[in-house]
Amino acid sequence: MKLLHKNIAVNTLASILIIVSSGFITYSFVKNHFEKEAKEHLLNEKESIEFALDDGVSPKLLENNIGDKIWIEEIPRLSGKKPYFKIIAQSENEEEEEEQEEEGTMNAPAIVFEYRLADKFYKITLIKLFDEDEKLVKDIVYAISISSLLMVLILVVVNIFIYKKLWGPFYKALQALKEFNVSKQHPIHLPAIDTKEFDDLNRSLTTMTEKSVHDYIALKEFTENASHEIQTPLAIISSKIEMCLQDKGLNAEQAKLLMEANHAVNTLFTLNKALVLLTKLENNQFEQSSQVNVADKIISRINLFEDFIQGKEIDVNYKIDESVHLSMDPNIAKVLFDNLIKNAVKHNVQNGKINIEVTKERIKIANTGKPPKDNSDKRFERFYKAGSEDSLGLGLAIVKKICEINRLKIDYNYNEGWHSFTIVFSSQ
């Protein structure tokens, strides 16, 4: 739900609640007031009727002479009841109801009192006919309803306006943040705004993105320098060991020590190279992309491994759709397939098999091999070593990272002697 919609919903709900309750209160106050007035009016009328009767005006005459409706009924004797107010109920008889409506006696307030004139007793019902008061109440109700509706409408319009106008900078900042890419090295700079909070937000965004761009550059420089600075001493160590090995006076024990040192130097070198590549991938330093023909890439990479494939007498089967292309950096595609094929060769068995399948939906590279010793997801983690001591455990971490940055999904699975890696193309 958008902020605007939430805002409108809450505001509308609250205002409807306020309007309904205030309408109800106003209505009851007004109604109360008119009822009180009606009672006073009836009491006054009662007095003047009694006065007139006392004066000898015949009740029949009264019925016609008074503004209000009066019902006079002769009763045998006084019941002793005090005068009381009532509301003339709506008749259940339809004809009478129509009549009531015409007369204006429907739901009308009335006073009932008894009166003794000489030796005759009367029960007099004085009804205040429907008049302006009642209409006024109705009008007030209408007015309140219409103005409430208008109010809600205006509220919605004002909300939209506030949303567009006041929250504009917020959405601008949000958009800028969405588009921000640290590898492009452009910190977010938004114009100054007179709303303090948003101005603060923009300033914070600028500070934050400037800092991350700065850190990004520093990190990039560091990886480049670290790689460079580590490689030079490594080259020196390696060359010195090689010189030592040429020494004719070297005994077997010394030679063994030197070889072990040499091996460690080589490992360190490979490690450095792989970590630098991973860092570069993580920093999105490979932005150029072109259409890479998957079939061509895979075949050319397979050729590089020919010696090893022949060495283990591995049978390679292809089922390749030659029209499949991937949009990515060609060098990175090379690294991706190199690592996958290398993995399939390295962990294969003597006389094993490799199946390579390329379709429009996926690339599947499967190889025969020993059952995995543990959790299948772990093999994409850095420094995971699947049994072999020689491996650094970075090859598949690199594969995974390459897939991630190119929005490809990679899965591993083991089934009846087959290890398969499947790259699924997401809808790009």
Binding site: I236, L258, F269, F305, G311
Partner: protein, 228 residues
């Protein structure tokens, strides 16, 4: 080799430069060492080197600029870049500017030696030379090997291995160095397999069967040595 090769090493790391010079001098290559861009510029005018080994990151300039300078002055030396940076752009730029080869640090001295021999030979004899080692004659251009004038048929890898051995004759070559020479980036795969052993065994057998002396010796715990 019958001729003496003269090379110039432009490398600011003195320790590395010394190792290179020491190693190459044992292979009958005469080395001159300079450590800066400026001295390198002077040296290339003083003497006509067969090959110049250039580090890209020099304290007072870039090796790439030095290559451009050498090309501009039409100095006819072979050029090999050695760079600590492994980036492809550096490699492409180097080779596009006119370098003959590119090696990433750290490298095996035997590898550098083999590469120097290859580029110098190519330039000096315009491809029509042969490498001779007693009764063995190698023609790098036609990729053929003669032993006592008789042709020996070798596989591609066996041939590369032989050239590498002969270029580094009488030196101990480690398994790592041999694997790198034959498979570069996939060397680690070779080290963990029997492949090097298999190739060497086959080469040795073919050479001996064709009448050559058994020059390939396994040096216990270290690697192999080609020599008498």
């Amino acid at each position: 080799m019958a001729f003496v090769t003269n090379i110039l090493i432009v490398e600011d790391e003195k320790l590395l430069s010394n190792s290179i010079a020491q190693y190459l001098q044992k292979s009958n290559i005469h080395c001159t060492q300079v450590y800066t861009y400026d001295t390198a510029v002077n040296s290339v005018h003083d003497f006509s080197y067969d090959c110049i080994v250039i580090d890209i990151g020099l304290p007072d300039g870039s090796g790439i600029d030095l290559i451009k300078y050498i090309k501009r002055k039409k100095i006819n030396s072979s050029l090999i870049i050695i760079s600590a940076r492994n980036s492809l752009e550096d490699k492409l730029e180097g080779l596009n500017t006119g370098a003959d080869d590119f090696l990433t640090k750290p490298f095996h001295l035997s590898e550098l030696n083999a590469r120097i021999n290859a580029v110098v030979r190519r330039k000096k004899f315009d491809g029509n030379d042969t490498i001779e080692f007693n009764e063995i004659t190698i023609n790098p251009e036609s990729k053929s090997v003669l032993i006592n004038e008789k042709k020996v048929s070798l596989t591609k890898k066996e041939f590369e291995l032989l050239v590498y051995f002969v270029s580094n004759a009488n030196k101990i070559l480690t398994k790592d160095a041999i694997a790198y020479n034959l498979w570069q980036g996939n060397a680690d795969l070779a080290i963990s397999s029997e492949l090097i052993y298999t190739h060497i065994k086959n080469l040795r057998k073919k050479l001996v069967e064709s009448g050559a002396k058994d020059y390939i010796q396994a040096v216990y715990g270290m690697g192999y040595k080609f020599g008498e």
